[in-house]
Protein backbone atom coordinates (compact mmCIF):
# COMPACT_ATOMS: atom_id res chain seq x y z
CA UNK A 1 0.00 0.00 0.00
CA UNK A 2 1.10 3.53 -0.72
CA UNK A 3 -0.04 6.06 1.85
CA UNK A 4 -0.23 9.73 0.93
CA UNK A 5 -0.94 12.64 3.21
CA UNK A 6 -1.16 16.36 2.63
CA UNK A 7 -2.09 17.31 6.19
CA UNK A 8 -5.54 18.45 7.18
CA UNK A 9 -5.47 22.19 6.57
CA UNK A 10 -4.89 23.63 3.11
CA UNK A 11 -5.74 21.73 -0.11
CA UNK A 12 -2.88 20.22 -2.13
CA UNK A 13 -4.62 18.91 -5.24
CA UNK A 14 -1.47 19.04 -7.41
CA UNK A 15 0.06 16.17 -5.45
CA UNK A 16 -3.19 14.19 -5.07
CA UNK A 17 -4.19 14.41 -8.74
CA UNK A 18 -0.72 13.28 -9.83
CA UNK A 19 -0.97 10.36 -7.45
CA UNK A 20 -4.48 9.52 -8.64
CA UNK A 21 -3.16 9.36 -12.19
CA UNK A 22 -0.30 7.12 -11.10
CA UNK A 23 -2.75 4.87 -9.21
CA UNK A 24 -4.84 4.53 -12.39
CA UNK A 25 -1.78 3.26 -14.24
CA UNK A 26 -0.86 0.83 -11.44
CA UNK A 27 -4.13 -0.78 -10.36
CA UNK A 28 -2.38 -3.57 -8.42
CA UNK A 29 -0.91 -1.13 -5.90
CA UNK A 30 -3.51 0.19 -3.43
CA UNK A 31 -3.18 3.91 -2.71
CA UNK A 32 -4.78 5.54 0.34
CA UNK A 33 -4.67 9.30 0.85
CA UNK A 34 -5.48 11.62 3.73
CA UNK A 35 -6.66 14.46 1.53
CA UNK A 36 -7.53 17.27 3.94
CA UNK A 37 -9.68 19.88 2.20
CA UNK A 38 -10.06 19.15 -1.48
CA UNK A 39 -12.55 19.96 -4.19
CA UNK A 40 -11.19 17.38 -6.64
CA UNK A 41 -12.64 13.91 -7.31
CA UNK A 42 -10.34 10.91 -7.19
CA UNK A 43 -11.11 7.74 -9.15
CA UNK A 44 -8.15 5.51 -8.37
CA UNK A 45 -7.10 6.27 -4.83
CA UNK A 46 -9.00 5.81 -1.57
CA UNK A 47 -9.56 9.33 -0.29
CA UNK A 48 -10.05 9.91 3.44
CA UNK A 49 -10.44 13.59 4.35
CA UNK A 50 -9.08 13.36 7.88
CA UNK A 51 -7.74 10.62 10.16
CA UNK A 52 -7.18 10.66 13.90
CA UNK A 53 -3.63 10.00 15.11
CA UNK A 54 -4.11 6.27 15.71
CA UNK A 55 -5.49 5.63 12.27
CA UNK A 56 -2.83 7.85 10.73
CA UNK A 57 -0.03 5.97 12.51
CA UNK A 58 -1.59 2.68 11.48
CA UNK A 59 -1.58 3.68 7.80
CA UNK A 60 2.00 4.90 8.01
CA UNK A 61 3.14 1.64 9.59
CA UNK A 62 1.39 -0.48 6.95
CA UNK A 63 2.56 1.54 3.95
CA UNK A 64 5.48 0.49 1.78
CA UNK A 65 6.07 4.06 0.68
CA UNK A 66 4.82 7.38 2.05
CA UNK A 67 4.06 10.29 -0.28
CA UNK A 68 3.52 13.61 1.43
CA UNK A 69 3.72 17.35 1.52
CA UNK A 70 6.76 18.53 3.46
CA UNK A 71 4.93 18.65 6.82
CA UNK A 72 7.00 17.76 9.85
CA UNK A 73 4.43 15.46 11.45
CA UNK A 74 4.51 13.14 8.47
CA UNK A 75 8.26 13.41 8.04
CA UNK A 76 8.99 12.51 11.65
CA UNK A 77 6.45 9.68 11.77
CA UNK A 78 7.84 8.16 8.56
CA UNK A 79 11.43 8.50 9.81
CA UNK A 80 10.61 6.80 13.10
CA UNK A 81 9.22 3.82 11.24
CA UNK A 82 12.00 3.82 8.67
CA UNK A 83 9.60 4.23 5.76
CA UNK A 84 10.77 5.49 2.37
CA UNK A 85 9.39 8.99 2.05
CA UNK A 86 8.68 11.02 -1.07
CA UNK A 87 8.14 14.69 -0.34
CA UNK A 88 6.52 17.21 -2.65
CA UNK A 89 6.79 20.64 -1.01
CA UNK A 90 3.87 23.05 -1.24
CA UNK A 91 4.53 26.21 -3.22
CA UNK A 92 3.33 29.66 -2.26
CA UNK A 93 3.26 30.79 -5.91
CA UNK A 94 0.62 28.09 -6.59
CA UNK A 95 -1.29 29.21 -3.45
CA UNK A 96 -0.58 25.87 -1.83
CA UNK A 97 0.68 27.52 1.35
CA UNK A 98 1.15 30.95 2.88
CA UNK A 99 4.90 30.83 2.31
CA UNK A 100 7.63 28.61 0.89
CA UNK A 101 8.89 27.12 4.15
CA UNK A 102 8.03 23.60 2.95
CA UNK A 103 10.59 23.97 0.19
CA UNK A 104 13.23 24.86 2.81
CA UNK A 105 12.18 21.92 4.94
CA UNK A 106 12.28 19.55 1.97
CA UNK A 107 15.74 20.79 0.96
CA UNK A 108 17.06 20.05 4.46
CA UNK A 109 15.33 16.66 4.67
CA UNK A 110 16.68 15.61 1.27
CA UNK A 111 19.98 14.89 3.08
CA UNK A 112 18.38 11.89 4.78
CA UNK A 113 18.82 8.58 3.02
CA UNK A 114 15.14 7.59 3.17
CA UNK A 115 13.87 10.87 1.73
CA UNK A 116 13.34 11.80 -1.92
CA UNK A 117 12.18 15.29 -2.82
CA UNK A 118 10.14 15.85 -5.99
CA UNK A 119 8.84 19.06 -7.50
CA UNK A 120 6.34 17.85 -10.12
CA UNK A 121 4.13 14.92 -11.10
CA UNK A 122 6.62 13.39 -13.55
CA UNK A 123 9.38 13.17 -10.94
CA UNK A 124 6.82 11.93 -8.40
CA UNK A 125 5.97 8.98 -10.66
CA UNK A 126 9.59 8.00 -11.26
CA UNK A 127 10.41 8.38 -7.55
CA UNK A 128 7.47 6.10 -6.72
CA UNK A 129 8.72 3.35 -9.03
CA UNK A 130 12.20 3.57 -7.54
CA UNK A 131 10.92 3.63 -3.96
CA UNK A 132 8.70 0.58 -4.54
CA UNK A 133 11.70 -1.33 -5.88
CA UNK A 134 13.79 -0.42 -2.86
CA UNK A 135 10.98 -0.98 -0.38
CA UNK A 136 10.78 -4.65 -1.35
CA UNK A 137 14.22 -5.04 0.22
CA UNK A 138 13.35 -4.19 3.82
CA UNK A 139 16.68 -2.98 5.17
CA UNK A 140 15.48 0.29 6.61
CA UNK A 141 15.22 0.72 10.31
CA UNK A 142 13.32 3.25 12.37
CA UNK A 143 15.51 5.71 14.22
CA UNK A 144 14.08 4.94 17.66
CA UNK A 145 11.83 7.94 18.02
CA UNK A 146 13.70 10.16 20.42
CA UNK A 147 15.47 13.49 20.10
CA UNK A 148 19.25 13.90 20.03
CA UNK A 149 21.02 13.15 23.32
CA UNK A 150 22.30 16.73 23.55
CA UNK A 151 18.78 18.17 23.38
CA UNK A 152 17.44 15.68 25.91
CA UNK A 153 20.31 16.50 28.29
CA UNK A 154 19.79 20.23 27.91
CA UNK A 155 16.08 19.92 28.71
CA UNK A 156 16.70 17.61 31.68
CA UNK A 157 19.15 20.15 32.99
CA UNK A 158 16.55 22.87 32.58
CA UNK A 159 13.83 20.92 34.37
CA UNK A 160 15.97 19.90 37.33
CA UNK A 161 17.96 23.11 37.79
CA UNK A 162 16.59 25.68 40.17
CA UNK A 163 17.82 28.73 38.36
CA UNK A 164 16.15 30.80 35.71
CA UNK A 165 17.37 31.26 32.21
CA UNK A 166 19.62 28.26 31.86
CA UNK A 167 19.16 25.28 29.58
Amino acid sequence: MIFATVGTQLPFDRLLLALDTWAGLHPKVPVVAQTGQTSARYSHLTAIPQMDQDRFADHVSKARVIVAHAGMGTILTALELGKPLILMPRRADFSEHRNDHQRDTAAEMARLSTVTVVEDSASLCSALMLALDQASAPTLKGDGGVASASLLDALRGFIWSGERGRA
Binding site: I75, V146, S148, A154
Partner: protein
Amino acid sequence: MLTLSRSNSPRRRVLAVASGGGHWVQLMRLRPVFEGTDIHYATVDPSARAMVAPATVHLYPDANKDTLLRMVLAALALAVIVIRVRPHVVISTGAAGGYLAIRIARLLGARTVFIDSIANTRQLSVSGRLAQRVADVVLSQWPGVAAATGAEYRGAVL
Protein backbone atom coordinates in the same frame (compact mmCIF):
# COMPACT_ATOMS: atom_id res chain seq x y z
CA MET B 1 24.32 10.92 40.60
CA LEU B 2 21.46 12.39 38.63
CA THR B 3 19.09 9.87 40.17
CA LEU B 4 20.32 10.76 43.64
CA SER B 5 19.81 14.50 43.22
CA ARG B 6 16.36 13.85 41.78
CA SER B 7 15.19 11.75 44.66
CA ASN B 8 16.26 14.51 47.05
CA SER B 9 14.64 17.35 45.14
CA PRO B 10 10.92 18.16 45.25
CA ARG B 11 8.91 16.52 42.50
CA ARG B 12 8.84 18.70 39.41
CA ARG B 13 5.49 19.35 37.81
CA VAL B 14 6.02 19.81 34.10
CA LEU B 15 3.43 21.04 31.62
CA ALA B 16 4.31 20.02 28.06
CA VAL B 17 2.37 21.92 25.41
CA ALA B 18 2.08 21.22 21.68
CA SER B 19 -0.47 21.79 18.93
CA GLY B 20 -1.37 18.86 16.70
CA GLY B 21 0.54 17.29 13.84
CA GLY B 22 4.27 17.90 13.72
CA HIS B 23 4.38 19.90 16.94
CA TRP B 24 2.97 16.96 18.88
CA VAL B 25 5.24 14.44 17.13
CA GLN B 26 8.26 16.55 18.08
CA LEU B 27 7.07 16.75 21.70
CA MET B 28 6.74 12.97 21.79
CA ARG B 29 10.41 12.69 20.85
CA LEU B 30 11.25 14.55 24.08
CA ARG B 31 9.42 12.08 26.32
CA PRO B 32 12.54 10.62 27.99
CA VAL B 33 13.07 14.06 29.51
CA PHE B 34 9.80 13.76 31.43
CA GLU B 35 10.72 10.56 33.26
CA GLY B 36 10.66 11.16 36.98
CA THR B 37 8.57 14.32 36.68
CA ASP B 38 4.88 14.85 37.33
CA ILE B 39 4.09 15.34 33.66
CA HIS B 40 0.94 16.97 32.28
CA TYR B 41 0.30 17.45 28.58
CA ALA B 42 -1.77 20.12 26.85
CA THR B 43 -2.70 19.67 23.20
CA VAL B 44 -5.54 20.09 20.72
CA ASP B 45 -6.35 16.51 19.76
CA PRO B 46 -8.10 14.09 22.16
CA SER B 47 -6.58 11.08 20.38
CA ALA B 48 -3.26 12.13 21.95
CA ARG B 49 -4.55 10.72 25.26
CA ALA B 50 -3.98 7.12 24.22
CA MET B 51 -0.37 7.86 23.25
CA VAL B 52 0.71 9.15 26.66
CA ALA B 53 -1.61 7.31 29.07
CA PRO B 54 -1.66 7.32 32.06
CA ALA B 55 -0.34 10.91 31.98
CA THR B 56 -2.99 13.64 32.16
CA VAL B 57 -3.82 15.33 28.86
CA HIS B 58 -5.54 18.74 28.91
CA LEU B 59 -7.17 20.02 25.72
CA TYR B 60 -7.31 23.51 24.25
CA PRO B 61 -8.83 24.72 20.96
CA ASP B 62 -6.46 24.78 17.98
CA ALA B 63 -5.77 28.31 16.77
CA ASN B 64 -3.39 30.32 14.65
CA LYS B 65 -2.88 33.97 13.88
CA ASP B 66 -5.65 33.89 11.25
CA THR B 67 -8.31 32.67 13.70
CA LEU B 68 -8.47 35.38 16.33
CA LEU B 69 -11.61 34.23 18.14
CA ARG B 70 -10.21 30.74 18.53
CA MET B 71 -6.96 32.29 19.70
CA VAL B 72 -8.83 34.03 22.52
CA LEU B 73 -10.57 30.77 23.40
CA ALA B 74 -7.24 28.95 23.35
CA ALA B 75 -5.71 31.57 25.66
CA LEU B 76 -8.60 31.20 28.11
CA ALA B 77 -8.42 27.40 28.03
CA LEU B 78 -4.64 27.48 28.54
CA ALA B 79 -5.02 29.94 31.42
CA VAL B 80 -7.35 27.47 33.16
CA ILE B 81 -4.93 24.60 32.44
CA VAL B 82 -1.90 26.49 33.76
CA ILE B 83 -3.74 27.60 36.92
CA ARG B 84 -4.93 24.05 37.59
CA VAL B 85 -1.60 22.34 36.92
CA ARG B 86 0.58 25.04 38.53
CA PRO B 87 3.67 23.73 36.70
CA HIS B 88 7.22 24.39 37.86
CA VAL B 89 8.35 24.08 34.27
CA VAL B 90 6.57 24.58 30.91
CA ILE B 91 8.07 23.03 27.79
CA SER B 92 6.52 23.67 24.39
CA THR B 93 7.30 22.62 20.84
CA GLY B 94 4.82 25.19 19.50
CA ALA B 95 2.94 26.63 18.07
CA ALA B 96 0.72 29.56 19.14
CA GLY B 97 -0.74 27.62 22.08
CA GLY B 98 2.74 26.95 23.41
CA TYR B 99 3.58 30.63 23.35
CA LEU B 100 0.32 31.47 25.13
CA ALA B 101 0.92 28.83 27.80
CA ILE B 102 4.43 30.13 28.40
CA ARG B 103 3.24 33.69 28.65
CA ILE B 104 0.58 32.75 31.22
CA ALA B 105 2.86 30.40 33.16
CA ARG B 106 5.56 33.05 33.49
CA LEU B 107 3.06 35.23 35.37
CA LEU B 108 2.79 32.42 37.91
CA GLY B 109 6.55 32.04 38.19
CA ALA B 110 7.11 28.90 36.14
CA ARG B 111 10.35 28.44 34.24
CA THR B 112 9.70 28.06 30.54
CA VAL B 113 11.39 26.78 27.41
CA PHE B 114 10.09 27.07 23.85
CA ILE B 115 11.55 24.74 21.23
CA ASP B 116 10.93 26.08 17.75
CA SER B 117 9.82 23.47 15.22
CA ILE B 118 12.44 21.69 13.17
CA ALA B 119 10.35 22.80 10.18
CA ASN B 120 11.70 26.31 10.66
CA THR B 121 14.97 25.84 8.86
CA ARG B 122 15.64 29.45 7.90
CA GLN B 123 13.98 31.64 10.53
CA LEU B 124 12.13 31.38 13.81
CA SER B 125 8.35 30.94 13.66
CA VAL B 126 6.14 33.83 14.70
CA SER B 127 5.42 31.94 17.94
CA GLY B 128 9.14 31.47 18.49
CA ARG B 129 9.85 35.17 18.02
CA LEU B 130 7.04 36.07 20.44
CA ALA B 131 8.33 33.48 22.90
CA GLN B 132 11.73 35.20 22.87
CA ARG B 133 10.12 38.08 24.74
CA VAL B 134 8.77 35.94 27.59
CA ALA B 135 10.35 32.48 27.76
CA ASP B 136 13.45 31.78 29.85
CA VAL B 137 14.92 29.85 26.95
CA VAL B 138 14.04 29.67 23.24
CA LEU B 139 15.74 26.92 21.29
CA SER B 140 16.03 26.61 17.52
CA GLN B 141 16.79 23.20 16.07
CA TRP B 142 19.06 24.71 13.45
CA PRO B 143 22.43 26.24 14.37
CA GLY B 144 22.19 28.87 11.63
CA VAL B 145 18.78 30.05 12.79
CA ALA B 146 19.97 30.15 16.39
CA ALA B 147 23.01 32.24 15.47
CA ALA B 148 20.94 34.70 13.45
CA THR B 149 18.12 35.17 15.94
CA GLY B 150 19.59 34.99 19.42
CA ALA B 151 17.87 31.68 20.08
CA GLU B 152 19.98 28.86 21.50
CA TYR B 153 20.91 25.63 19.75
CA ARG B 154 21.16 22.46 21.84
CA GLY B 155 20.45 19.80 19.23
CA ALA B 156 17.32 18.69 17.41
CA VAL B 157 14.47 16.22 17.72
CA LEU B 158 16.09 14.11 14.98
